[in-house]
Point group: C2
Chain length 405, copies 2
Amino acid sequence: MAKIAIMGFGTVGSGVLEVCRRNAAAIARRAGEPVEVKYILDVRDFSDSPDAALFVKDLDIILADPEVKAVVETIGGTRFAYPYVRRCLESGRSVCTSNKEMVATYGAELLALAREHGAAFLFEASVGGGTPIITPMHQCLAANHISRIEGIVNGTTNFMLTKMKREGMSFDEALRLAQKLGYAETKDPGDDVDGRDACRKIAILASLACGHHVYPDNIPTRGIRELTSLDVKAAESLECVIKLIAWYREEANGGLSAGVEPMLVPDTNQLAGVDDVFNAILVKGDMLGDVVFYGKGAGKLPTASAVVADVIDALKEGAAVHDSLFWQPAEKLDHMLEDKKPCSWCVRVRGGAYGFSLPMEPVRSENGQTVCRVHNATRAQIDALAVEMKARGCELLLALKQMPA
Amino acid sequence: MAKIAIMGFGTVGSGVLEVCRRNAAAIARRAGEPVEVKYILDVRDFSDSPDAALFVKDLDIILADPEVKAVVETIGGTRFAYPYVRRCLESGRSVCTSNKEMVATYGAELLALAREHGAAFLFEASVGGGTPIITPMHQCLAANHISRIEGIVNGTTNFMLTKMKREGMSFDEALRLAQKLGYAETKDPGDDVDGRDACRKIAILASLACGHHVYPDNIPTRGIRELTSLDVKAAESLECVIKLIAWYREEANGGLSAGVEPMLVPDTNQLAGVDDVFNAILVKGDMLGDVVFYGKGAGKLPTASAVVADVIDALKEGAAVHDSLFWQPAEKLDHMLEDKKPCSWCVRVRGGAYGFSLPMEPVRSENGQTVCRVHNATRAQIDALAVEMKARGCELLLALKQMPA
């Protein structure tokens, strides 16, 4: 019998308890022994719960119990989660987490700490919710060098973009609906709509691909707040759809770039058909070519089932998993991982589109604004165009890259 | 240093050697030690090869060398592969294979043999080529009960169907092109076009999902030979595309069914956009919901890279992997796993569509044949309709199920 503890009894944490109980037999077979939740750490009062006896408020009780082999961290954030996870790993307990902020911020350090103490630090659920991505990347693609990742990794914004396209909603209407359905935070939806959540996820995948820590702070991140229905309709007339894409690329010369930004995705691209709260992540291996992993990016039971799969791996494999699931510490860069590659763009402008240094082809106009195509330009050229337009009393309101088909 | 042997130096076998050399450093890091190919078993003459020194013609040489920890089987078929793999496993060597026919036929027996001798028997490359599916299913979805699988698992037929749809080719034209490009066998393309290859792959996935051996012989299998351009065009006017679907389903009452057959896939379904030689497999977990794995289903280096990832797992995990990668032996059924569920159909008929026991709505006609829709009918009812039509001098030429959107 393997005993585990859950830290943080919110949505995912309570899901972990439910999954462990509902699929106990299958989990026992695969772990090689039954898995039982012995403690739940939460500061809140659960004395009315049928599981009241499991709750503790002090991490030391868990750490003092030699029966506890692995700990699930589903507190979220870093303030409590980070020191608690450190203490668990230092005590030789494996930790399984869905906490992308913690992994994106302290991943290299916690991986090294786990290795040092003979424990596993696993985080499949931190990207893609329940959709397998971390394990396939480091295990199934172990014989590949990964040079490119492109994904729709935030379900909330993908739901909103789907509503803006299909039902002609504005950004505000789509956000209100997402909040009503519980997909977006009511108080501050910024983590989702400003791209920070997607940025943390691509930082984790980029770190795994390149082998050293990539900090979210170094990844240029743009959200979807500025998108208008004119952008959506212009994309449609170009046989594209707008998606919030998190991407990572290693150039032939070894240089890295990464970003989170709304992009025009051609209808023929695999990512174009990924709608609603679904996620999809494309990974390019040098031997394998492109593979795509698709599924729901969030939700209580899907995410919890990924955490429980990690618990099984942690119990079976221990620190050996870190031969492949590992990246080195690295300093934060003092510059951003800017995209220097030329590509096609859609720019939304006001006040005129002719006679500037970059040729613009008008696509669609509305209320004095025009969406135009610009071919084969870098981000720096687009930034220069914005300055040039301003000097002539015009305005470049938004610039979106187009992905290849 | 871990030494391995390759049995069968064809396309995939030579790819394994190439992958091991090209990505040696990454493989060494992930395996925890360098991996070196010490022997290649092949009956043919490779004395001109730069690797001539590695070739042997006698399995006993490999088995007598205690340095060899794992053996790759890429001979194909069962005549030689099966007894050789048995002998390797009996000697305690782990075996990694891309051989779907052998796994579909002898999987349960070889898994038990591996376990008995403390070895691993791994076959990620047997389904989906290099696209991860077996490992995600038994490891990442370990906390799930899998009740449904639907996939495009044969790249050759998917390429042909894509050509029939996009370029209006006939079956014969598409087959000739597939043969010319090396996707289909020139001599006997039956394994692909008659669905046997897809049948073996779904038998493997079904066995893994339900926990006991499912024999290809018990899976009703229909190929794509009878499809005409009228079927393709009728599907298009119903906003569907025809795909060869391999599927498995566990009903609420625990009954199993499975099949391989061309089906109408609505354009909105994730599988509809999977074109050319690509594969995609949808797996439904009770906790996770639907996930889809997408990638190239074949090819030398993709397939070889999956075999090499298995070699790394075999060296690291050994027989422990079979706590989750396992199914029990079972007798061959004396009946087929027929689909008893009612669904929508497209039937192609000659000689009249009115006045029969099942109402038919004509969709499209050509050269005296008409494609009609039939709603909410079972396979048994369609079979009865065929008999009824024949008795009245008409003919039911082809019946295709429609997948849900």
